[in-house]
């Protein structure tokens, strides 16, 4: 059957069972948009800025384990998308980006809306393609979907010149593709797993530390089973929250720069560390030299060999898909003769109990000013701990991670690696499309929310009942916190002057706006938003204490056990 390139694109999306494409039309993708128009299997979500299209597709993927798809035009369409692509890349999110390109004959001529898309995106995609022949189009798209989801996932971009979308060729969609240069390892080496089992059974002060890899591999249940079998303490990274039930006794909270005392101290002082789908990044272990000062054996499970022994030397590397390796680990543990050392474990837990007793997340809610932590706590109560929470980047992100307890994976959607302000609102859109009945709240700040505020319009168009929890302290809070702590209270450009009236702004877009200034009104406002205005988008502008800081804190360059606590100040 002879089809045009544009028809092939749509047919491929249909074959991949793509239900939503987030995008924005433009000159180079006109033929593709024309074909989109003629069918209704693939629905298009028109955003207000290309960056938001990518973020929405990204969150669609994060919250569902399906591949997010977005489409942008050439030139500025692509450059606007770059922030979104880099965000997804840093967090290994499977995504396919389709970009228009100027016609083949115009490439390199500085044509209108031309840019070197493959060159610009190369460092922030898992892989990218420029389609030069319509005959290659279908197989290239198949490869894109295959690469995005297998191995260490990531965004894959397919750049399609306009003339290709209007040329015809015979269409058949390949059922599968093989690439001689790409064979990701899935199964872990059983000899290595055996070594790991022995180390775990011999451990006196064991610790389990897991990251986004557990979420990406849909391995939360297996991780929970393993952790309960062993009776070991467990911590999650920012990206790994929800990988183990946040309300469980064995869970020590998040670790890292703003981790709990018990998580950071146990991480630092353990003698055997089982790292699962986590990459020891600078925000997690702080200064690697300080971390190395304590002798411990490290078992590291990761699908990406380059993540192993990158920042920290590992004793038992296990390359493979977290889910498959955990299966094998559980199997070998069940068959093993020994049991974890109960006596040592008991005294380890006693020690952890002492750290826990410091209650490092405590804060005081007075009668006058709203504490931001309190808002997150109340949100947790009002939503029964069962909402999908997206966040932007900054203090509010850390408070959300600390005070909202995630019992399930894929409920906590944030930009961990790149730390992209502005993701929260488009993330909430993507989540809602992937989970049409879910409660979705976007925890944000008055700085971040203004970076993609235009999406209030998309939210109206598609009637997405997203609740925006704006912790408005009038400052770029995390910047202000660092300036207070490390730059002699010189608040250089961190004050947000001339803020809009967010209530009126929300109303202007056709949403409900609320302005909350008193602690006593916090819970009521949240309940109203989630009941009375259940089916509407509500912008809750909480005016919070501008002096509130995120604690505990491990200052940049310091070791994990060198935390600053709220009570120290």
């Amino acid at each position: 059957m002879q089809l045009t390139g544009a028809e092939i694109v749509i047919r491929c999306l249909q074959e991949e069972k793509v239900d939503y494409v987030f995008g924005y039309p433009g000159g180079s993708v006109l033929y593709i948009y024309d074909e989109l128009f003629k069918q209704d299997q693939v629905k298009h979500i028109l955003v207000r800025h290309e960056q938001a299209a990518v973020h929405a597709a990204d969150a669609y993927s994060r919250s569902s384990n399906r591949i997010g798809v977005c489409m942008v035009t050439s030139g500025p369409g692509v450059t606007n998308a770059v922030t979104g692509i880099a965000t997804a890349y840093m967090d290994s999110i499977p995504m396919v980006v389709i970009s228009g390109q100027v016609p083949t004959a115009y490439i390199g001529q500085d044509a209108f809306q031309e840019c070197d898309t493959v060159g610009i995106t190369r460092p922030c995609v898992k892989h990218n393609f420029l389609v030069k022949d319509v005959k290659d189009l279908a197989v290239t798209l198949k490869k894109a979907f295959y690469l995005a989801k297998t191995g260490r996932p990531g965004p894959v971009l397919v750049d399609i010149p306009k003339d290709i979308t209007n040329l015809k060729c015979e269409f058949s969609y390949p059922k599968s593709v093989t690439m001689r240069s790409y064979n990701p390892v899935v199964k872990g080496h059983s000899g290595q797993i055996k070594k790991a089992v022995q180390l775990l059974l011999d451990a006196k002060r064991p610790m389990i530390y897991t990251g986004g890899g557990v979420i990406l591999a849909d391995a939360a249940e297996k991780l929970t089973k393993l952790t309960r079998m062993l009776g070991f303490p467990i911590t999650n990274t920012l990206m790994g929250l929800g990988g183990y039930p946040g309300t469980d006794q064995q869970f020590l909270g998040m670790l890292g720069m703003h981790g709990t005392v018990e998580a950071n101290m146990a991480m630092q002082n353990c003698d055997v560390l089982l790292a699962v789908g986590a990459r020891f990044d600078d925000r997690v272990i702080g200064n690697p030299t300080h971390f190395d000062e304590v002798e411990r054996k490290i078992i590291h499970i990761d699908i990406d060999p380059s993540s192993i022994s990158k920042r920290v030397k590992v004793d038992v590397p296990i390359v493979g898909c977290v889910s498959d390796v955990l299966d094998e680990l559980i199997k070998q543990l069940e068959a093993a003769e020994g049991k974890p050392d109960a006596k040592s474990l008991a005294s380890w837990w006693k020690q952890i109990g002492e750290w826990r007793a410091k209650d490092s997340l405590k804060f005081k809610q007075g009668k006058e000013r709203i504490m931001p932590q309190y808002v997150v706590q109340k949100l947790y109560e009002v939503t029964g701990g069962d909402a999908f929470i997206t966040s932007d980047v900054g203090q509010h992100q850390m408070w959300a991670a600390q005070y909202y307890k995630f019992d399930k994976p894929r409920r906590w959607i944030n930009s961990g690696g790149l730390g992209t302000m502005g993701v929260g609102l488009p993330y909430a859109m993507g989540v809602r499309f992937a989970n049409p009945k879910a409660q979705v709240a976007c925890i944000t700040g008055e700085g971040s929310i203004q970076m993609c505020i235009q999406e209030l319009s998309t939210i109206k168009q598609f009637r997405l009942p997203v609740k925006i929890i704006c912790l408005n302290n009038g400052y770029l809070g995390m910047v202000r916190q660092w300036q207070e702590m490390f730059h002699g209270d010189r608040y250089s450009e961190s004050y947000m002057d001339s803020l809009p009236d967010f209530v009126k702004l929300a109303e202007a877009y056709g949403h409900v706006g609320m302005h909350i200034t008193k602690p006593a009104d916090v819970e009521g406002a949240l309940r109203e938003a989630f009941t009375t205005y259940k089916d509407e988008c509500v912008f809750l502008n909480f005016v919070t204490d501008p002096k509130a800081n995120v604690f505990p804190m491990v200052a940049a360059g310091k070791g994990l056990s060198q935390m600053i606590l709220a009570e120290d100040l």
Binding site: R152, R180, S181
Partner: protein
């Protein structure tokens, strides 16, 4: 430590920039890089000379392996191997220096491949040290121009890098 990394990579547009981009993005050092298609035109063979600690070189090979177009990576310097580089040197060759230049070229087993009344072009192959030694051996003021290919290398005996 100096390492010679050999790569088999799909002979696709942009493959070179993926490799060179990786080195610049992660601040790895490239001493030299050579690339050309192999006997199988769908594959290119690349040789990169890099200097770094064992940890850095391990990261480099892992990161290279992660590139989708890369089929195989091997650190040639891990075992017995041969390395060669080609250099063309244009020198001034007049008066009594003309004879001397020819003699030094002969000692280094260089060949004179272009001759004018006042210049020679000398072709020289060998490992990097030999080429450096030649430059040291001749009077620097006589050098008009040099061009070097960068190192290419191959494993000795049964060490074969093939798909």
């Amino acid at each position: 430590m100096r390492h010679i990394i050999s790569i088999l990579i799909e002979n696709e547009a942009g493959a070179l920039s993926r490799v060179s981009g990786l080195f610049s993005a992660r601040a790895y050092n490239i001493e030299s890089l050579t690339v050309a298609p192999t006997e199988d035109p769908s594959l290119s063979r690349m040789t990169i000379v890099s200097i770094g600690s064992e940890e850095i070189i391990e990261q480099i090979t892992k990161q290279l392996n992660k590139l989708i177009d890369v089929v195989k990576v091997v650190d040639l310097s891990e075992a017995a191997h041969i390395e060669r580089e080609l250099m063309l040197v244009k020198v001034r060759a007049t008066g009594k220096d003309r004879e001397e230049m020819k003699r030094v070229a002969d000692i280094f087993r260089g060949r004179i491949i272009d001759v004018t009344e006042s210049t020679y072009v000398i072709e020289l192959t060998g490992n990097t040290n030999k080429l450096d030694a030649f430059i040291e051996a001749i009077d620097r003021s006589q050098i008009l121009e040099t061009v070097r290919t960068g190192v290419c290398g191959i494993g000795r005996g049964d060490r074969i890098l093939k798909v």
